[in-house]
């Protein structure tokens, strides 16, 4: 008997009563099923990770005694702290560079007649279907010593011989990540612009505003949630990315992602790596929550 109804109710159970009980049970079952997959596959590993961050490594073995020493290391060690702050600054620069490039693109696509709009949008998001590594190699071949950029600059006479510094530097990370994450910035801004009812633009013009004034007072403020979303996307992806810094970063491009990765892949200090990971997760969560709160306050 699957009925969960109170006894006096089940006594006079009608056909519709049975139906709703069954439907309720089915819905609950479905919920458990749907909730189970992410809990087992995402939440559980994350939790073991968090647990690991409170352990310590001794002679290559993880000692399962509770300690805050990993977090203490993070806050006490200026080296880690520097890389961390530097990485946050780098991610912010990447997000900002993406925004500066993406906003005009998104705006331009939005203003296009409908029959070109989605074709162009598709071109912009096409790179999302490509492998991350392929894109990285493509970018490397553009920025490299006999890459497209150097050849072009030599050809146009800006420099007289190929210039090395496009690759293996902090700036190379910014350039590569900006290019790779651009679609993640264009897309939310475009979708947000598309959500602005055309009548608002018409109303602004109707009330005497020029196109520039309409942009400043109506379009820009109303597209800010998309901007915030894009910034958070790009910032978080840049923060978690350790492959790009590894491939184009060189010596000056040492990022926190690389530090975390090396705890797992080089020094095998998993608890310390886990603690660093938890710090990253906390930063990201705070960021998302903060942006969510902000956009709710602005009622847009």
């Amino acid at each position: 008997m699957i009925s969960t109804a109170a006894p006096n109710e089940s006594a006079k159970q009608t056909w519709s009563g049975i139906y709703t009980t069954r439907a309720r049970a089915a819905r609950a079952g479905l919920f458990v099923l749907v909730a189970l997959v992410p809990s087992v596959l995402v939440l559980l590993p994350t939790l073991t990770f968090v647990a690991n961050s409170f352990f310590v490594v001794d002679n290559g073995e993880i000692v399962k005694t509770f300690t805050l020493s990993n977090y203490a290391t993070f806050f006490r060690d200026a080296e880690y702290w520097n890389v961390f702050i530097n990485t946050l600054w780098l991610c912010f620069q990447v997000a900002l560079a993406s925004l500066i490039l993406a906003y005009p693109i998104a705006w331009f696509i939005w203003r296009l007649p409908e029959r070109y709009r989605y074709g162009l949008l598709f071109l912009i998001i096409l790179p999302l279907f490509m492998s991350y590594v392929v894109k990285l190699f493509a970018i490397r071949s553009i920025l490299g010593l006999d890459g497209f950029l150097n050849q072009f600059l030599v050809f146009t006479g800006f420099i007289d011989r190929p210039y090395m510094a496009f690759l293996f530097s902090r700036n190379a990370i910014i350039a590569a990540q900006t290019i790779m994450f651009l679609p993640y910035m264009v897309l939310p801004i475009f979708l947000n612009l598309e959500r602005i009812p055309p009548s608002l633009i018409q109303a602004s013009s109707d009330l005497g505003a020029s196109a520039g004034t309409t942009f400043r007072h109506i379009v820009l403020p109303l597209s800010l949630p998309g901007v915030a979303g894009g910034l958070v996307f790009v910032f978080i992806m840049s923060l978690g990315d350790y492959i790009t810094p590894q491939m184009v970063g060189g010596m000056t491009g040492h990022t926190f992602g690389r530090v975390v990765w090396s705890q797992f892949g080089v020094t095998y200090d998993w608890p310390l790596g886990a603690a660093f990971g938890v710090v990253l997760v906390l930063i990201c969560t705070t960021l998302v929550a903060g942006v969510g709160l902000l956009s709710r306050q602005r009622r847009i």
Binding site: S199, A209, I300
Partner: protein, 397 residues
């Protein structure tokens, strides 16, 4: 001459959207665009052979329309009739495919919407969701660079005028549909437009609020004497509100006239059936000049359509009576009641003439003692005055 004119409030030239009359917030100061005036009764807006095609399809066939100063003109028609197209052309949101738009003698056909002295109340109100009611209302002054202090005074005046004092700091999402509507209205009026365009502004409101807003619109239009062009598909609304109605169908202007002209003297079959119920009959001109109707000849018909040989004749259901004795001078038709529908104040009957049972008539009677005697199957005598017939051309079959 002048005294006679003043007797009619509609042509009273002492008022109008003159800069020194009307509500304070609509009075223009130098440099604002409300400093034009026009005398009532004169033409304010002229549409000359204006048309709009979308991809070869005529949304609006070449149309002429003259809008008088200070009048409440309603453009009425079903969806796709071109009524909104006219509004968009006047507002500057669509470019005319041909023809000219002239406002106060100035050709505004090529002007962008931001430079036109008209303002629009949009169907969805188009309030800026990130701005307060006050900032929405003050937007038109703000973009013109009017000092904030002056704007604030006018805004609170305008909000008071539409009955929204105390709502200044509310955001559109915190306002009801009717309140949003009033904000949209105040936002447009504060720019002191020569013509206010209203695009089905009441369609999103429930019946009660709708009626309330109709009264409100009518009242403020009387008060400020601004020319209103109101678009709707609701014929009752059109009749209640308008000084004149332009009936549109399939991109063409079918008829332009006062509500009673449109109602009692429809110029086309479409107008006769679109506004209210009507009994329509085929009418043929006989050799002796009389007109033959299915229910009998009419001796001296009042012709409205000239030249045509084939006509439709229409009689409104409420213009048919069911007397006990034949009425002299009327067309008297012995008939049988087919069905009766009681709807409170009105009782609607469908009757079928004894001689031409296929031509049923709808009759609307004010419910009173005696009306309940009419039951399905009972014999009645229907009568109407031939003067109440309206005629419009029919393509000969």
């Amino acid at each position: 001459m002048r005294a006679a004119v003043i007797a009619d409030p509609r042509t009273d030239t002492s008022r109008g959207t003159h800069p020194d009359t009307g509500p304070v917030f609509m009075r223009a100061s130098s440099g604002e665009r409300g400093d034009r005036t026009g005398s009532a009764g004169e033409n304010c807006l002229l549409l000359r052979a204006i048309s709009k095609t979308y991809g070869g399809e005529h949304a609006l066939h070449p149309t002429d329309l003259e809008v008088k100063n200070g009048e409440f003109l309603t453009i009425l028609g079903p969806s796709g009739s071109g009524k909104t197209t006219i509004l968009r052309l006047v507002g500057g949101f669509a470019r005319a495919s041909s023809g000219r738009i002239v406002l106060d003698g100035e050709d505004i056909t090529e002007l962008p919407s931001s430079k036109r002295p008209c303002n629009t109340v949009f169907q969805d109100y188009a309030l800026f969701p990130h701005k307060t009611a006050a900032d929405n209302v003050g937007y038109g002054l703000m973009v013109r660079g009017i000092p904030a202090q002056k704007t604030a005074a006018k805004v609170s005046e305008a909000l008071r005028f539409v009955g929204l004092e105390g709502m200044a700091r509310k955001y559109p999402s915190q306002l009801s549909g009717g309140q949003q509507q009033r904000v949209a209205l105040a936002r447009s009026l504060i720019c002191a437009p020569r013509v206010l365009l209203l695009d089905e502004p009441l369609s999103a409101l429930d019946a009660d609020m709708r009626r309330q807003m109709q009264h409100f619109l009518k009242r403020i239009q009387k008060e400020i004497r601004t020319t209103f062009i109101f678009v709707t598909h609701d014929q009752e609304e059109a009749i209640t509100l308008s000084d004149r109605i332009a009936v549109m169908n399939q991109g063409r202007l079918e008829q332009l006239g006062t509500p009673s002209e449109i109602y009692y003297r429809p110029a086309t079959h479409f107008v006769a059936t679109f506004l209210g119920d009507n009994n329509i009959m085929e009418a043929t001109v006989l050799t002796n000049g009389a007109l033959s109707l299915p229910v009998g000849p009419v001796e001296r018909p009042v012709f409205h359509g000239q030249g045509a040989q084939a006509f439709w004749a229409a009689i409104r259901p409420e213009r048919i009576s069911l007397p006990k004795e034949p009425v002299s001078g009327s067309i008297n038709i012995p008939a049988k009641v087919v069905d009766v529908a009681f709807s409170g104040a009105l009782t609607t009957l469908r009757i079928s003439p004894i001689d031409t049972p296929d031509h049923t008539f709808m009759v609307k009677l004010t419910s009173c003692r005696g009306t309940e005697e009419f039951t399905t199957g009972s014999s009645v005598l229907a009568a109407f005055d031939p003067a109440d017939l309206s005629f419009f051309p029919r393509k000969p079959s």
